[in-house]
């Protein structure tokens, strides 16, 4: 059995906690407009910072999903801290589903 008391977790975290909080843009994706993201995936390919991630919402045993069917996959903006606000994703999105908002400085 695993002896939990023995587990040493590496201490150093690369994020400098004194630097927090860090500012980042809000990126929202309208899932009513973006219904087949894994079939479109334009934002995934356009973003130089790999901000977006796309995943199958319902993993089911013995069943393969069809990415062309609406609502099976979902795309979300995960690594917002890396966004350059280059707006490439907004320009590329055929459904105008992406909105990027910056907080006032």
């Amino acid at each position: 059995m695993v002896d939990k008391s023995k587990i040493k977790v590496p201490k150093a975290t690369p994020q400098d906690l004194t630097r927090l909080p860090i500012k980042m843009p809000k990126i929202t994706i309208d899932h009513n407009k973006c219904t087949v993201p894994f079939w479109c995936k334009k934002c995934l390919q356009a973003c130089p910072q790999l901000v977006f991630q796309c995943y199958c919402k319902h993993l089911e045993k013995l069943r393969e999903s069809d990415p062309r069917q609406p609502g099976i996959y979902e795309v979300i903006a995960v690594r917002r801290d890396k966004c350059h606000v280059c707006n490439k994703c907004v320009e590329m999105c055929p459904e105008n589903a992406i909105t990027i908002t910056l907080e006032e400085a």
Binding site: V2, I7, P21, L50, C54, Y55, C56, I76
Partner: protein, 283 residues
């Protein structure tokens, strides 16, 4: 020693200990706690993604919130034995990956789930078949067709080694993955930032351990060609312009060995981490 070696090494490097590949290790936690161990296909990608999103969101809210999110993430891994969020693993150099292929059975090549999520690369795309599945967990693959749309290419030991060498030549970092508390279920071949495991480690210090080696440059042999510099995914290698030699930041080095396999003059060697006083506790 890294803490996995302390717990599961039985006196050797833990991932070279055949016990950690045994069928017994795969089924044991499942009997004790139903659902504890998940097959490669069962591990839910939404879990990883939401965990990473929670960490990034916490960065925006300040240090206390960030530490809270970190604790939550670690507890989650503990509870679900690594099948939801930030999996457990360690970077391995090519030579150790080849030795792992000799220990485990069966061996199969499957599609990378991270590149699917980050870049939208389809499973059926042959360039995306870079994930090595090891051991009995792979035999469950047909139950999870969604994860294995690209199928499984079963490989012999020699074929596996050849694949690993080819992927190494391309510049992919090898790292092992665990499914369940001590069952080694795969060798991932990927790069930063497409690989979620490497990204979680480099950006948030989360779970993936550094390898058992650290790279060192021999200045007598290095001619400053710079080939090695483009291989490092960890920002540890750069050119020392004054001397016109490669220079390695040993605190950043993960011991992936990609610089070693690329150097045409064999100027880079891998040293054992535990023999370097300042790095013994750096994982």
């Amino acid at each position: 020693m890294c803490h996995y070696c302390e717990m599961w090494g039985d006196g050797t490097i833990w991932y070279l200990n055949p016990r950690n590949y045994a069928r017994h290790m795969y089924t044991l936690p499942k009997e004790a706690k139903p659902g504890a161990t998940k097959a490669v296909g069962e591990a839910d990608p939404a879990g990883y993604i939401n965990l990473e999103r929670a960490m990034v969101d916490a960065l925006e809210r300040g240090p206390e919130e960030y530490e809270k999110a970190m604790k939550f993430a670690r507890d989650m891994v503990d509870m679900t034995q690594g099948s939801v969020g930030g999996w457990m693993g360690q970077v391995v150099p090519l030579r150790d990956a080849e030795r792992m292929a000799e220990i485990s059975n069966p061996l199969g090549l499957i599609a990378c789930i991270c590149r699917k999520a980050m870049l939208g690369i389809e499973e059926r795309c042959p360039e995306n078949m870079t994930c090595m599945g090891l051991g009995v967990g792979m035999l469950k693959w047909e139950r999870w067709p969604e994860r294995y749309k690209g199928g499984v290419h079963w490989l012999t030991i020699e074929e596996t080694k050849q694949w690993l060498r080819d992927l190494d030549t391309k510049g992919f970092v090898h790292s092992l993955m665990m499914f369940g508390p001590r069952f080694i279920g795969g060798i991932c071949n990927c790069d930063y930032p497409a690989c979620d495991a490497l990204t979680m480690r480099l950006d948030h210090g989360f779970n993936m351990l550094k390898g058992h080696h650290v790279a060192m440059v021999d200045y007598d042999l290095c001619n400053g060609c710079g080939i090695c510099v483009q291989r490092c995914q960890f920002g540890a290698l750069k050119m020392n312009v004054t001397l016109d030699k490669a220079n390695i930041d040993q605190m950043r080095c993960f011991g992936c060995g990609l610089c070693e396999t690329a150097c045409p003059r064999k100027a880079i060697s891998l040293k054992e981490r535990i023999k370097i006083p300042s790095l013994q506790e750096v994982w």
